[in-house]
């Protein structure tokens, strides 16, 4: 690194320019990562917080519309309950509804229909305000509902049906599904709403057997035999994290954002690779002199890669710090934005790692510089 440090200082404006590009890419990556995490939270945080290992949807439903299309019944639940390794199985109802508050304000809700005594019902310690499920028309909602000015004791009316639901509890933290706030509702009430029956009218009796999916939780250390369960219960089982694709818009959003990030990584690696290629070619004569002086290829390659690592680490760290600064401003806006240490660490590692790869592709030229060219007057 003797030569590397001095070259960094000597050509500081050139290295600074390249570092700025990497730094700006790092800022963008932080923003996209924050947006990505934010959208994931908005799309599936309600699902993520369920104590569920997998969902068994009715056989033949497509995953991307499973939560709106699938219907299972109690026979399928019974078949799953009898399977080995299943610790808990319960009916889970899911439906997006439009409702309005007492003052006519629009409230979109994702109704999670669960039996109040099942493992799906919000645990008492997850309820920040009020109480848990119990009352037939009582709902327990995500704390993001409070941003609409609603709280415990307020009533919302489901449009078209006119069903009135009262908020009895507010959960701790964000629970959303498909960008809509989650409201836990007793399964029976969910079944009435899902059947489309107006309050006071007859509900077709089978409706009380139905739900969207069988929610499964696996005993500690046990392995779920999905094939056996699916054939016994005529279902299609999807692990929790794969079921996220059933959240409206989730797959398209994450794909788009991941694609943009992928392009940014590629651009950054290419910029770094191109810079070091030009830089190495410019230094060809100096490299020949150093080799004639006896510097080994390993010595020169270590020097060049060390130099690239310094530029990459410094610009990535500075860029990410700026990005996190911007991000802190974003989190106070209604934009879905969340900065998480994990994805940021991965992004930093990718930027530095891919940049080094780009640099490595160019420093290979060092090995091919002929020390003989240092002799004579070619300069």
């Amino acid at each position: 690194m003797f030569l590397a440090w001095r070259e960094l200082w000597f050509a500081r404006s050139r290295f600074g320019l390249m570092g700025a590009v990497v730094g700006l890419v790092a800022v963008l990556v932080v923003m996209l990562s924050g947006l990505s995490s934010g959208l994931v939270n908005d799309g599936v945080s309600g699902l993520k917080k369920l104590p569920v290992t997998a969902f068994a949807f009715d056989d033949g439903t497509a995953v991307d519309s499973a939560f709106s299309r699938s219907t299972v019944d109690r026979d399928q639940l019974a078949a799953w309950s009898a399977q080995d390794g299943v610790a808990e199985a319960a009916l889970f109802g899911n439906q997006l509804v439009n409702a309005e508050g007492a003052n006519g304000e629009a409230v979109d809700l994702a109704l999670f229909g669960v039996e109040p005594d099942s493992f799906l019902a919000p645990a008492p310690d997850a309820v920040a305000d009020g109480e848990g499920l119990g009352d037939a028309t009582g709902i327990v909602v995500s704390d993001t509902v409070t941003e609409l000015g609603l709280g415990v004791g307020d009533t919302v009316t489901i449009e078209r049906l006119g069903t009135e639901l009262t908020i009895v509890g507010v959960l701790d933290g964000q629970h959303t599904f498909g960008h809509v706030d989650v409201a836990y509702v007793p399964l029976e009430t969910w079944q009435e709403i899902h059947s489309g029956a107006l309050p006071g009218t007859e509900v077709r009796p089978e409706a009380y057997d139905e739900a969207t999916a069988v929610a499964l939780s696996v005993a500690d250390g046990a392995e779920l035999d999905t094939a056996a369960g699916d054939s016994d219960a005529a279902t299609m089982t999807v692990p929790l994290d794969e079921s996220f694709d059933g959240s409206p818009g989730y797959a398209a959003e994450t794909l788009t954002l991941n694609l943009i990030q992928l392009f940014l990584y590629a651009i950054s690696a290419l910029v770094v690779g191109a810079f070091f290629t030009v830089w190495t070619i410019q230094r060809k004569h100096e490299i020949a002199v150093a080799r004639a002086m006896g510097a080994s290829t390993g010595y020169l390659v270590r020097d060049a890669l060390g130099q690239a690592a310094v530029v990459l680490v410094v610009s990535t760290v500075v860029g990410m710090a700026v990005g996190v600064g911007f991000g802190a401003l974003m989190t106070s806006t209604p934009m879905p934005f969340a900065l998480e240490a994990g994805p940021l660490a991965v992004a930093a590692a990718l930027l530095v790692g891919l940049g080094l790869l780009g640099a490595a592709a160019s420093v290979g030229r060092i090995a091919h510089v002929d020390p003989l060219t240092a002799l004579g007057g070619q300069r």
Binding site: F2, S296, L375, R379
Partner: protein, 238 residues
């Protein structure tokens, strides 16, 4: 390996010799169009001798430096630097020999643009893995000896051609080499500067007991040299 003695294990008979070429032939080019750049050249340069090599363009002077400096291997014959047979070494070992035993002074200095004068010398020590007080010499003292102490912290673009050549000579000597190879050191200098630089080479050659081979076109400066050989068509003629 200490000081300026060129001890190599198992080669006692040749330790008093800086450079020894024994019947060296170098053919260049491929297929039908081959050139005999060096034609059965035998040459011995003892420590403390400044040898000048003169000759017309294409005579093989640069080829002689390349082979003597372990930059390339001869087609036939034996090259010994400080008693070490170069032809027995692979590329990595030849690089090792270069950084420990051989100093190069290139035309117009060929200094590294990012480094100050004193760092040029430190870089040579760093490459050689040596530190001041062991085999290497103190960079600032050496710069003082070549009259560059006052410009030790200047970069090459702030130095004149003659000053660069002085720094180049100091850089070649800082690792205490047994063999100093100099390629047309006065090509870019005026008369007065040429004399100064070659005089400096002679002084340092004698002071440090290094075997020096200097290629030159400049017949004016031969008076400072201990010995002059002429080359023509790859052969030594005098």
């Amino acid at each position: 390996m200490t000081g300026t003695t060129q001890q190599a294990p198992g080669t006692t008979p040749t330790t008093t010799v800086g450079l020894e070429l024994d019947d060296v032939t170098l053919t260049l080019g491929d297929g039908d169009s081959t050139v005999t750049a060096l034609d059965h050249v035998s040459l011995t340069v003892p420590p403390g001798q400044l040898l000048a090599v003169v000759g017309p363009s294409g005579a093989g002077k640069s080829s002689l430096l390349a082979v003597a400096g372990a930059l390339g291997l001869p087609t036939a014959g034996v090259v010994r630097v400080a008693g070490v047979d170069v032809s027995a070494l692979n590329a990595a070992r030849r690089a090792d020999l270069r950084r420990r035993r051989i100093g190069f002074v290139f035309q117009s200095g060929n200094l590294l643009p990012a480094l100050t004068a004193v760092d040029q010398l430190r870089f040579a020590l760093h490459v050689a893995g040596e530190r001041v007080g062991r085999d290497g010499r103190d960079p600032r003292t050496l710069l003082g000896q070549v009259g560059m102490a006052h410009k030790a912290d200047r970069r090459p673009h702030e130095l004149s051609g003659g000053e660069r050549q002085r720094v180049g000579i100091a850089r070649a000597l800082v690792t205490a080499p047994a063999l100093l190879l100099v390629d047309e050191p006065t090509a870019a200098l005026d008369r007065a500067r040429s004399h100064e630089v070659v005089q400096l080479l002679a002084t340092e050659t004698h002071e440090y007991g290094v075997a020096t081979v200097m290629v030159t076109h400049d017949h004016d400066v031969l008076e400072h040299c201990d010995r002059v050989v002429e080359m023509e068509d790859g052969r030594l003629t005098a």
